[in-house]
């Protein structure tokens, strides 16, 4: 038994889980073309959820702050991006790919800057006074979530809003009898880029070293003379911005958004963070991919089970690894 786990560990250990899941699904589904479509959809969904969840995981890991209001950033990102895209609808409809890209970039930048600003506000005004008090943190961030949802309702109204997509991301590629939506590839690419960026910053720079050290042992880093609270504001802002971008991408994926979007995604984000283990982006990526793939496979194989599939996945993983697959927080 030990030898088997040793060998598994050498080949990637828990990182093999998404592959194992995909292989299992391949056998169960039986039709390679639908399997490929589902896998791409699952990976794209996983990457978008990763964008939303990575910030939450890092924030908790570094400062022991559990932000229930995180999903507010997701909703705000979605609505800000949708508004920018709607304002630039002329550019989106144009046949010019350059104009398309400019409009899309502007929308994502708008969502990101909103996330940065809102993150700063949230951290300094809402969360700063209740460090080290989990009960009040949960309550206060919950209160902030209620207020943010109401603000969204007041500004954008309760009716669903259609999100415009850039022309060049519409449609699908047909390879053989497999059809792959271009938007999904784009979402996957953006998520992967964000992951690689985060990974490099965390593992290759001095700043990242400090963040990881802070996750490991905050007091020690403080004792060595680093201002970890400033670092934390930075992490909080980046995490919020990532959530907003994730929300913007999700808005484009769903194409019809309601103010309930944040609340719906929050459950998925929590499940991902719990599965992955708090404080590590590798774990979050793993959890996000597992959740994305499971949701799509189960949705195809047994639609009735689709709702509970994430819960079952979480329960199974918690029974096996109570702290998540790849926790950074001891």
């Amino acid at each position: 038994m030990d030898r088997i786990s040793d060998i598994m560990g050498r080949f990637g250990g828990v990182y093999l889980l998404p592959l194992a899941l995909a292989a299992l699904a391949f056998v169960l589904i039986g039709a390679p073309s639908s399997w490929a479509t589902l896998t791409v959809a699952g990976l794209a969904m996983g990457m978008m959820v990763f964008l939303m969840a990575s910030g939450l995981s890092l924030i908790f890991g570094l400062m022991d702050v559990l932000n229930f209001g995180h999903s507010a950033f997701v909703s705000f990102g979605a609505f800000v991006a949708a508004s920018v895209l709607a304002a630039l609808s002329g550019w989106l409809g144009a046949d010019n790919v350059l104009l398309n890209i400019v409009a899309l970039t502007l929308a994502i930048i708008a969502a990101m800057s909103f996330g940065l600003a809102a993150g700063w506000f949230f951290e300094t005004v809402i969360i700063r006074p209740v460090y080290h008090d989990h009960l009040r943190q949960i309550l206060i961030t919950m209160g902030a979530l209620i207020v943010s949802e109401q603000i969204i309702l007041a500004i954008w109204g309760g009716t669903p809003i259609t999100v415009l997509r850039p022309q060049f991301l519409e449609g699908a590629w047909i390879i053989g009898d497999v059809s792959i939506e271009i938007y999904r590839i784009f979402a996957f690419g953006l998520g992967l880029a964000a992951f690689i960026g985060l990974y490099l910053v965390l593992n290759r720079t001095r700043l990242g070293l400090l963040v990881r050290a802070g996750v490991e042992n905050r007091e020690m880093v403080e004792a060595l003379g680093f201002r970890i609270d400033r670092l934390f504001i930075g992490v909080f802002m980046v995490g919020s911005a990532l959530a907003a971008v994730g929300g913007a991408m999700w808005a484009g994926y769903e194409t019809l958004i309601t103010p309930a979007l944040g609340g719906e995604m929050m459950i998925v984000v929590f499940i991902v963070v719990i599965i992955g283990g708090l404080g590590s982006i590798e774990g979050t990526l793993l959890g996000a991919l597992l959740v994305g793939l499971t949701a799509n496979y189960v949705g195809f194989l047994a639609p009735k089970l689709a709702l509970a599939s994430n819960m079952i996945l979480m329960t199974a993983i918690l029974l096996w690894r109570p702290n998540g697959l790849r926790p950074a927080v001891k």
Partner: protein, 356 residues
């Protein structure tokens, strides 16, 4: 909080007694349909909030699955009443089934969450509750889906039922109030709620209550003294789930309708949270005050906000925020300010007065 006879404590207890008296005589004091609706809702939410306070205030467990248990009780009664027809046996079986399901789920969630970090508990309960909500709207052959279930309740509670008749054979009046089934239904709600509330009051006054507080204050020390924290936590989670489930059954019998919006929705969870924090965590009295204030505000504050929105109609954004539908916005802000400045809530803060 342990001060027995500060004037603050006396003031709070007087207020609670006054509320109890008002609720007891509500049908005679406020003779309109809406007021009776408000009074019944207050009774049920006092029980629901008090049972939630057992978790959050006494033991320091944050759960977001409380409406799920409330829903189990309500749906248990609703399904039983629809399948078996109106009768007391259906109510009893529904209540029992609701409590059983609640106990099983609570034990399951409790045992699972004991293996993980305490902070996960809040997230896991939130996820579980959302699955329950989705299941209720999906399994429409059992639960009626989004539309919910309407059913008939035992004959005693029918508005046409005459509890007493006068000489002419019409329904008798006492102080101008018709002694009909509606009155019986209200007193059913009142007395069952009272019984459940007194039960919880007894629980927290017992040594068990002190152990729960000890766990809240310092978990490691409670464990070191020899109390099995894990067992106590699971027990109190099951107890509060069972009480919430019974409250759900009472609510189902009163409303004659059960749907996702009246029992399971996240909005109700937020209401409970607001009530507990506004009233004051860690005292049963807080649940009473919080529930009364919130329910009254829910029913009457919206009218006030509508008037305010009209008055400010030509100022940008303000009428949108003052819209009666936006009342949660203001409550959310009050909630945040309360958690900052008065973490003990209204009753906790008052009860501290005169302590030194």
């Amino acid at each position: 909080m342990h001060s027995k006879s500060t004037y603050g404590t006396i003031a709070v207890k007087t207020a609670v007694l006054l509320i109890a008296a008002l609720l007891l005589f509500a049908p005679f004091l406020f003779q309109d349909v809406r007021a009776l609706e408000v009074a019944a809702r207050i009774c049920i939410f006092i029980v629901l909030v008090a049972s939630y306070d057992l978790l959050i205030g006494y033991t320091g467990i944050v759960s977001f699955a409380h409406t799920m248990f409330f829903g189990f009780g309500a749906y248990g009664a609703a399904i039983a009443l629809r399948q078996m027809g109106p009768g007391w046996d259906a109510v009893a079986i529904g209540a029992l089934a609701g409590v059983l399901v609640s106990l099983v789920v609570a034990t399951g969630v409790g045992l699972l969450s004991l293996r993980v970090k305490a902070i996960f508990f809040a997230m896991i309960t939130l996820a579980t509750a959302s699955v329950a909500l989705v299941l209720a709207s999906q399994l429409s052959q059992f639960t009626g889906g989004e539309d919910g279930i309407t059913y008939r309740v035992p004959d005693l509670f029918k508005p046409a039922t005459k509890l007493m008749v006068d000489e002419t054979g019409k329904v008798a009046r006492l102080f101008g109030v018709k002694l009909n089934g509606k009155l019986a239904a209200y007193y059913f709600v009142f007395f069952t709620s009272l019984a459940l509330f007194l039960l919880m009051l007894r629980v927290v006054a017992a040594p068990l209550g002190s152990v729960l507080k000890a766990i809240h204050e310092n978990e490691a020390r409670a464990e070191a003294i020899g109390y099995r924290v894990v067992a106590y936590r699971t027990f109190v989670f099951c107890l509060s789930a069972a009480v919430a489930s019974l409250a759900g059954t009472i609510y189902a019998v009163w409303l004659k309708y059960t749907g996702p919006d009246t029992t399971l929705s996240f909005a109700i969870m937020i209401d409970i949270l607001l009530m507990v924090v506004i009233g004051g965590m860690g005292t049963m009295w807080g649940a009473v005050v919080g529930a009364v204030l919130m329910v009254v505000a829910q029913y009457y504050l919206r009218d006030l906000m509508g008037a305010a929105a009209e008055a400010t109609a030509n100022i940008p954004l303000l009428p949108d925020l003052l819209d009666p539908d936006r009342w949660l916005f203001w409550l959310g802000i009050i909630f945040i300010l309360l958690v900052y400045f008065f973490p003990r809530g209204i009753t906790g803060t008052i009860m501290q007065k005169g302590a030194r």
